[in-house]
């Protein structure tokens, strides 16, 4: 079975989601791997959302907001940028390739650009392969076994008898 990347996209309401909408109304074809979540501002996207998405099975996360200077709330996209720069520093420490979390500025008029980025990103993640956080966690803990457990069960059963 070929690997189909699961990508979560957090798109800001004012620019990027509208840009994605434009790609749709313009009938531009793009990779169906992205699951878009509309948020009011890229500044609302907490790193927790991104980490949670990766933990729950996303292979990549796209954050998209208004171009610098265009934020509907003045400063939100700068916050997103700073969070992204900091997050990029910690992802490798988890063993997660930083390329899996991508930040892009996509304006409401850039439907074409949205499609191109989604296609590009999907291919990039396809090359990186599945992330598999939960599988890795299970693998890392498979030998962490309290082997007294059975013993206790036995003695418990013996007591009852």
């Amino acid at each position: 079975m070929t690997f189909e990347p699961k990508i979560v996209g957090f798109l800001c309401n004012w620019c990027s989601y509208t840009g994605a909408d434009l790609a749709g109304t313009a009938r531009i074809k793009y990779a169906p791997n992205i699951r878009s979540v509309r948020v009011m501002c890229s500044g609302r996207i907490e790193p927790t959302f991104i980490i949670k998405a990766l933990f729950e099975g996303a292979d990549g996360v796209l954050i998209a907001g208004c171009h610098p200077g265009d934020c509907h709330y003045q400063e939100g996209n700068y916050k997103a940028l700073r969070r992204h720069r900091l997050l990029q520093r910690i992802l490798p420490e988890y063993g997660v390739e930083p390329e899996r979390v991508r930040l892009e500025w996509i304006a409401a008029s850039e439907g074409e650009r949205f499609a191109t980025i989604v296609n590009e990103f999907t291919e990039q993640i396809r090359e990186l392969g599945p992330l598999g956080v939960k599988e890795s966690l299970a693998e890392a803990m498979k030998d962490d076994i309290d082997h007294h457990e059975e013993h206790i069960e036995e003695s418990g059963a013996a007591n009852e008898a």
């Binding site: 907490e46 790193p47 927790t48 980490i51 949670k52 990766l54 933990f55 610098p68 700068y78 916050k79 940028l81 700073r82 969070r83 720069r85 900091l86 997050l87 520093r89 910690i90 420490e93 988890y94 063993g95 997660v96 956080v133 890795s136 966690l137 693998e139 890392a140 803990m141 030998d143 962490d144 076994i145 309290d146 082997h147 007294h148 457990e149 206790i152 003695s155």
Partner: protein
């Protein structure tokens, strides 16, 4: 009737046990109300004494320390069966604490480092601790050393949490008083801490200021009145639960996050990325990176006490 109590340490440093003794003369009030039937650091009882007890015979057990090996887990499960109320005492039992920083390594990499690679190691035969070994025909058994450090509630059901590294003695008194008076909050609650952030109880002056340089406590003497974060020190106050009385902060030391995250926060360390990035000044990538270069080891700084309780819990293998 006196209550039956126990205190146990898993993977901890003993600081929580000492914090219990740090309630000073109030320990006499506690001794009046509680018979301690199990407290390895202070009294000589054996695991078999606990095994011989009835299920639910303890009224209260305080478990401090994280789950690092099979012994920690075994005793956690044993005590869970034997007690009516189980309290996770201190940061390690609550959110993993310092021992869970080892989750950024593996058992193998730690054993390699400790038993062969350190500069002072002389171990030509490559001897490492074994779970089972035979010496002169006698079998010896050691607990299994886990790959991943866990919080107490990742192995057993926990009734209450008393955070802190260590918990403030007064908060221990408050919690014990609540137990004695039967005034405990709903199961699963944090006892002995507040519900707001540490910033809310921090007495320092805060203004709206953008940070343009990250500093370290060893390189500066902070202003005694002003917010430490605004002075460029990494202070985890914005993402940490109040309740400690701002002990560190009042001594000029930034918060390291031992009281853990607030309600509804899934990951204290990741939340700090959000909080810190919000107050940084620069808007250009290069300038941002220059400021971020000042943070030594951001992941472990933000997750100093909470790695085991964080979303990803460990480094991927």
């Amino acid at each position: 009737m006196k209550l039956k109590g126990g205190i146990y340490w898993g993977s901890g440093c003993g600081g929580c046990d000492v914090a219990v003794l740090d309630i000073h003369e109030k320990i006499l009030d506690v001794a009046e109300k509680v018979d301690f039937l199990f407290w390895p650091i202070a009294l000589d009882f054996k695991y078999d004494d606990v095994r011989a007890m009835d299920d639910g015979e303890f009224d209260l057990v305080l478990y401090n320390g994280a789950i690092r090996n099979s012994e920690n887990e075994e005793i956690a499960k044993l005590l869970r069966r034997k007690t009516k109320t189980l309290v996770a005492l201190g940061a390690c039992a609550h959110i993993g604490g310092l021992p869970s920083l080892a989750n950024y390594h593996t058992k193998q990499s730690m054993f390699d480092r400790v038993y062969s690679e350190t500069e002072s190691t002389d171990n030509p035969d490559g001897t490492v601790p074994l779970e089972k070994s035979i010496v002169d025909g006698n079998g010896l058994e050691l607990p299994r050393f886990y790959n991943t450090v866990k919080t107490l509630d990742q192995v057993v059901d926990v009734d209450y949490y008393l955070p802190g590294c260590p918990p403030v003695p007064q908060q221990i008194v408050n919690a014990l008083t609540a137990v004695f008076n039967g005034e405990l909050p709903p199961k699963g609650s944090i006892i002995g801490a507040g519900t707001r952030t540490l910033c809310d109880e921090c007495p320092r002056e805060k203004e709206e200021k953008e940070i343009s340089e990250i500093k370290r406590p060893l390189n500066m003497i902070p202003d005694p009145e002003k917010c430490l974060l605004e002075q460029g020190l990494i202070c985890l106050g914005p993402v940490t639960r109040e309740g400690c009385g701002a002990r560190c902060i009042n001594s000029g030391v930034p918060c390291r996050g031992c009281y853990g995250p607030l309600e509804e926060v899934h990951d204290q360390g990741i939340r700090m990325i959000s909080a810190l990035a919000s107050v940084l000044g620069p808007k250009e990538e290069k300038e941002i990176d220059a400021v971020l270069d000042g943070i030594v080891d951001p992941l472990r700084t933000f997750h100093r006490f909470s790695t085991a309780a964080s979303i990803l819990r460990r480094k991927m293998i």
